[in-house]
């Protein structure tokens, strides 16, 4: 199981001091936080992508490239990369480059963004959000998997014999998660390809997340990538901790009450009971987080939103210390308990590389040329089992 941080990259005035960080300070804070993620023993740092103030991360691979040089172990990811308005050719090249820079410590989460005007700014139509996400990703996959691509679609200039460069490290494309709050189309897309599904989780009630994840799992099995329990699920989360539960509530309340997303709306108590937000002691965070498994099943990745709503860097780093020292070690131990051996870990570059090597070895009689569609995920997430993930592939036949 992987644990990490995802950041929106907002510049928000600290409501307790009135201080507003500069763009430079905020960007430097994000880089500091990412390095702290590695220092305290977490596994993933993911940045958002936005193209309007008050957000700073418009160029995620620039940030992640710096972090790659300053860290050795953590996975560099996104939450999310805008598959709708960014050119899939540029996404293919940016993230393949980042793979080489970071020796493969890269994956990405695709999303459609939360700012309507982004579409017209990049010459797109927001009403085509879902078709853009589907078509652009279909092209992105081919750019990473085929050396020369002939392509023609609805939304982009055709390509003839195009080769994106550099090629993915070791011939292994980065693992992809598809992020969605409420679009079944995106859960369907993730399941169709056997990719990961990342549920934002934090702004909606648990019952909603449970239904979305359940749907993705069922469709993952339908498309022949493995059993529903073997689907690759990531969740967002949001916590604020203090040794003493009451201190946490007192300290976080002004940030909650003024937060851009939910400020001046429900009380912190109501929002805590209706969403996964947890404000309290490390033990309360542990208990709540372990409870996620009750409604989404054994899952692969837990990311927390930590640096937002104007929380100062010092506070965020203290929160990360608590996560690394008191929370995540317990979660690793507890999540491992009763976890079936057949439930895979999230694919990494190394697991995908090994799967690729295994797949290019002489194939048993039951696997044929048509299984390429599933190889990257299904083989990487679990040991090859006769028939199951390989032979059951329906998607290879009825897809593109």
């Amino acid at each position: 199981m992987q644990f990490g941080i995802f950041t929106v990259g907002d510049i928000t005035t600290d409501p307790t001091t009135g201080d507003t960080p500069t763009e430079n300070a905020r960007i430097k804070a994000m880089l500091t936080i990412a390095q702290k993620v590695e220092e305290v023993g977490l596994d993933v740092f993911a940045t958002g992508e936005h193209h309007n103030p008050p957000f700073v991360p418009s160029s995620p691979t620039t940030l992640l490239g710096y972090i790659a040089a300053k860290t050795e172990r953590i996975i560099l990811s996104t939450a999310t990369t805008l598959i709708t308005t960014s050119d899939p050719v540029k996404i293919a090249e940016d993230f393949a480059t980042l793979q080489h820079v970071s020796d493969g410590r890269v994956d990405l989460t695709l999303g459609r963004g939360n700012t309507g005007p982004v579409y017209p700014w990049f010459g797109k139509d927001i009403r085509e959000g879902i078709p853009l996400a589907l078509e652009n990703y279909a092209l992105l996959r081919r750019l990473w998997r085929e050396d020369y691509v002939d392509w023609e679609g609805q939304f982009r200039t055709p390509l003839q014999g195009f080769q994106s460069t550099p090629r993915p490290l070791d011939g292994v494309p980065p693992f992809v998660w598809h992020g969605s709050i409420r679009s079944p189309e995106i859960a369907e897309q993730a399941a169709y390809y056997g990719d990961g599904f990342f549920s934002n989780h934090i702004f909606w009630p648990a019952s909603h997340t449970a239904k979305m994840v359940g749907y993705y799992r069922q469709r993952f099995e339908h498309y022949g990538h493995g059993t529903a329990a073997q689907a690759i699920v990531g969740l967002g989360g949001q916590v604020f901790m203090s040794k003493n539960s009451q201190d946490a509530k007192r300290d976080f309340r002004p940030y909650f009450d003024n937060a851009p997303v939910y400020g001046n709306g429900p009380s912190m108590e109501d929002f805590t009971s209706q969403t996964p937000l947890t404000v309290g002691s490390p033990q309360e965070v542990i208990d709540r987080t372990l409870g996620f498994r009750d409604y989404v099943g054994d899952y692969q990745r837990q990311l927390w939103l930590m640096d937002h709503a104007g929380l100062p860097l010092k506070t965020v780093l203290e929160q990360l210390d608590l996560l690394g020292e008191e929370v995540v070690p317990v979660l690793r131990r507890e999540f491992a308990k009763n976890r079936p051996a057949t439930v895979p870990d999230a694919p990494t570059h190394e697991s995908l590389r090994l799967a690729r090597v295994a797949a290019s070895a002489p194939a048993p009689a039951t696997t044929g040329a048509e299984v390429h569609h599933d190889l990257d995920t299904a083989a990487a997430i679990s040991p090859p089992r006769a028939g199951s993930a390989f032979g059951l592939s329906r998607s290879a036949g009825n897809g593109s």
Binding site: E135, A138, Y192, F203, W204, P205, G263, P266, Q274
Partner: protein, 213 residues
């Protein structure tokens, strides 16, 4: 046509009245009672669920700010949108529906009232506000693809007295509107439908539109 014995329908009533007692709620109740009576004539048993938006005012505003409904508001929205008919009544404030009334219909999914039979009503101090029904409420429900019955019912304060001899009395307007709504509710299968929240659009292809290779 007489319905088979044991036929059942549900009727949702949403009142945006603020005071207690409220003439808006009174009008809503009268419209509901008249509709139920018409359905009884057709051997249809009607379950009425009535909601005062005042009781959900905080939840509606929180939904507007956070993007999701609290559990109690979600339960209420599900009941309203799954009903075979809806009676929606608002006081007229400053030439139009009340902000609370509009906010409620702003936070529900804009596809969830499609095809729903709706009877609209409004209350105000004087009859000079009565056209708000036709310039504000009716277009709103038309936008939501609801089926609004031709007769809408406006009750000014004076209507609760003897009424003006030159126009149809309030009880007569209520009866006519209830008859129109009951006819649509009787034919509705809305409350018996099973909704699939994960229904994909027709022709959906997860790989996109099928790029020509």
């Amino acid at each position: 046509m007489t319905a088979p014995k044991g036929k059942q329908r549900t009727l949702a009533v949403v009142s945006a009245g603020l005071s207690q007692p409220s003439s808006t709620r009174l009008l809503a109740d009268k419209l509901a009672a008249a509709t139920v009576a018409r359905l009884v004539d057709e051997n249809i048993e009607t379950r009425v669920v009535t909601y005062e938006l005042r009781d959900y005012a905080q939840d509606v505003m929180n939904n507007m700010l956070t993007g999701f409904a609290s559990p109690r508001l979600e339960t209420m929205i599900d009941a309203v949108t799954a009903a075979d008919g809806l009676i929606a009544v608002t006081p007229i404030f400053t030439t139009s529906y009340s902000g609370l009334f509009k906010s409620f219909f702003d936070v529900i999914d804009n596809r969830s009232l499609t095809d729903q039979p709706v009877l609209i009503g409004a209350t105000a101090g004087t009859a000079r506000h009565s056209l708000a029904l036709d310039f504000a409420l009716r277009p709103m429900f038309t936008y939501l693809h609801a089926v609004v019955v031709p007769t809408s019912v406006f009750a000014a304060s004076e209507d609760w007295g003897s009424g003006d001899a030159r126009v149809a009395t309030l009880p007569a307007r209520i009866e006519r509107a209830a008859g129109e709504l009951a006819a649509l509710v009787a034919r509705s299968d809305r409350s018996a439908r099973v909704l699939d929240p994960f229904e994909l659009p027709a022709g959906f292809n997860p790989a996109g539109l099928g790029p020509s290779r």
